[in-house]
Amino acid sequence: MAIDWLPSVLIVTLLILAVIGGVRRANLWRAGQPEKVDIVAGLLALPKRYLQDLHHVVARDKYMSQSHVATAGGFVLSMILVLLVHVFGVSNRLLAGALLVALGLMFVGALFIAKRRLQPPSRLSKGPWMRLPKSLLTFAVTFFVLTLPMAGVLPEGTGNWLLTMILSAGIIISLSELLFGMTWGGPMKHAFAGALHLAFHRRPERFGGGRSTGLKPAALGGEVHGVAKPSDFKWNQLLGFDACVQCGKCEAMCPAFAAGQPLNPKKLIQDMVVGLAGGTDANYAGSPYPAGKGEARALGSAKGGADNVITAGLVDADTLWSCTTCRACVEECPMMIEHVDAIVDMRRFVTMEKGQTPNKGAQVLENIIATDNPNGYAPGSRTHWAADQNLPLMKDKQQVDVLFWVSDGAFDMRSQRILRAFVTLMKAAKVDVAILGDEERDCGDVARRLGDDASFQSLAKRNLATLSQYKFNKIVTTDPHAYHCLRNEYSDLDVNGVLSQGASGQAVEVLHHTTFLNHLVEQGLLNFERFSDTRMTYHDPCYLGRYNGEYEAPRELLRSLGINITEMARSGYRSRCCGGGGGAPITDIPGERRIADMRMADVTETGAELVAVGCQQCTAMLEGVVEPRPVVKDIAEILVGQLIEEVH
């Protein structure tokens, strides 16, 4: 190269600019609320989190994961070697050779990425992201050529002014994207913010195979409840938004997006980025929010700033209320962004500060406050369904093995069939069981997802106070929503350790009825006839599967009846929501289709005549689909039909 010092000066200049950008960006995050994070431990855990947890998610897409490993791995290695070779001037042929290999690896990876960009799927963002593979290739080629002389492949000083110009341009182009752009808001921001997000994640329990799905309690009594402005988020939530790679995996999985409701998780996160950095969404190059039944908003019309109220101009409230909190986006996100937390945080502001829960939301919340159940039934009629069930009350028994948490299904005639079926099964297995009866209250799931954390916390505290009077080892419920609240969300409010100390001294086991029944079957306490050859599929409830990782027990139960389950294309952790979660049927944001109809289409596609479910909400939603359609039954109902009762 004609001027030897030029590349190193360029590299150092861009590096310095990148550092400046990094500090500026970090200051944007620091506008958020304080949150205690173990910085050192987080940074130390970063490599493992990246290589293991994040890769585990990315590896679901083999093509992309391998391309990414080659490209990113090649780039990180190359960059280190570039610094050594070209900036610090370590002249070592071996080092230079290694750099060439790394660049080659990166080049191959970038080629595959470029290939995918030839015909990108709709979920991918375009715009600057179309440029990225070219920048990567430019980097690889430029430094490859630049390194050739040092590796001794070409003699030193090869090249003329023209080549120097071209290579300098290459350095500027590629490093502007890859270093400068990383901290100044280019596509490569994902690497910078993403790495830090992994290190300082708000839910570190998620790494290492853990699960952390319970919503964090809202602080009550301050100047503002919930998130009004981007600066009301915790700082590491803001950091998390910045980590988004706009891969659109969330968009592809989101049931509300598919139904044409005005929600696109990717756009939402990008709007949060607009909010934290200020400006408009004019540069967003992905799919917009579906229009729903209103008018689609033109790009650029959404304006935000760290101290501007989000729902006043940046995001429409309807977008927030479209979410079913099914967590499909979170499950799918390779950057481990917590969309649902953010949505519920913003809902809290709309409900607790604005009082604008849409449609029947306000009424439902008022009912919950006045009667402890969402439909305003007399609290004294909670046990009417069990009039003929001969179920003992905790009040009379004081101590039992199993406490059956009935949930608000007690008021609904359809859900009562599930409850009765489950009681029959428990009686057949001679389980030592009791219910709370009229002392039970709504678990608070709906109130919390509708953003009224005050009511949730009040219900949780009162429920815990009731539970603290009695002794039991297990809580079993047929409602996955109650199951989730009791298992994952009550612990934040359980100051007296009611659930961490059961009758036997060990922590109270909270179980879904399918898990519990599966234990009973394994112990040989229940015997069933084989099920006739009906083609059957199983719908994973979000709050059982994604929220609590229970995919197997329901399937094992069905298999124990000799049923061969025909799985739907979307099952297990990719199960599509029924549309009934997160208060979505209450807020009822119009779309082009109904989520339940789409889910039923998934069922019909398998040719199943019967769909097994493990949730009363799913049952209600799927049965709401116009007939003819496959029959919907809770697993307890299917089991009770095959039960062989011992005759004495």
Binding site: L220, G221, E353, Q356, L365, A370
Partner: protein, 256 residues
């Protein structure tokens, strides 16, 4: 000139749970007040300033709320009268009947009589206030409405047909200021001797047969009860089926 409007609120009672709540009609009185006066609205309660239900009213967007403090057994009307006389008020809004206490619905009338104002009962909407006169819609049974004009100042009691109260926002209610005014109460003397008990369910009136003789009584006792199962028309002509429906509608007098 902005209107000077006062909404009177009381502690409600949920019919199913019996728990205290924002009273349905009083909530509508606040809603109507907010519609007419916006933030200028003053909301007044007589009773205990620490009552948590007041926060539910305040959550509708009130920055403050006035409580004329006095014990339950005291009569609310004299206190309110003295309070309202001091202010230069255009409209006082109340519910038709409270959900707790005596539920007599007399408060608006007594206040109106004491202040010498007209009272409009069962208001569905106050359409507009112009030139010292309000255009009011009264709620009649089964969704019917009557328009009435009334000069300011007046007292209006809000019917359930009025626009429902907006959602109460927890945070706003929590931060609202509750201004307490100590008041000299008068013990409600008449009420002292009353006995209160949980409402007994009222037996439905049976169809009594005025039978003078054993034979008539026998006939009445053994008569086949009518209308157990519904009638199903399948094979009749369309015209006959439609006629059957139409006849039932006429019989029920829903078509006039």
């Amino acid at each position: 000139m902005p209107l000077n409007i006062v909404s009177l609120v009381s502690v409600g009672r949920h019919p199913q749970s019996g728990r205290s709540r924002r009273a349905e009609q009083d909530g509508r009185a606040v809603e109507m007040g907010l519609k007419l006066a916006g933030q200028q609205l003053s909301v007044v309660h007589v009773g205990n300033p620490d009552e948590p239900v007041l926060r539910q009213y305040a959550g509708m967007g009130l920055s403050s709320l006035t409580v004329l403090k006095q014990a339950d057994r005291f009569d609310a009307v004299p206190v309110l009268q003295r309070y309202l006389e001091q202010k230069n008020i255009d409209i006082v809004l109340t519910g038709v009947r409270s959900e707790s206490g005596e539920s007599s619905g007399m408060v608006p009338y007594l206040l109106a009589h004491a202040l010498g104002w007209p009272v409009v009962a069962r208001v569905a909407d106050i359409v507009c206030v112009e030139k010292g006169e309000a255009q009011v819609l009264l709620a009649l049974p089964r969704g019917q409405r009557r328009a009435v004009r009334v000069a300011l100042p007046f007292i209006a009691s809000l019917d359930l047909a009025a626009p429902p109260a907006r959602q109460s926002a927890f945070g706003v209610g929590l931060r609202a200021k509750i201004e307490t005014i100590e008041s000299i109460g008068e013990v409600d003397q008449i009420r002292v001797d009353w006995q209160e008990a949980e409402a007994k369910p009222r037996a439905k009136r049976l169809k009594t047969v005025k039978a003078k003789t054993a034979a008539e009584r026998f006939k009445a006792a053994t008569a086949k009860p009518q209308g157990d199962a519904g009638k199903v028309l399948i094979n009749e002509t369309t015209q006959q089926k439609a006629q059957a429906i139409f006849d039932l509608l006429l019989e029920e007098k829903v078509i006039r």
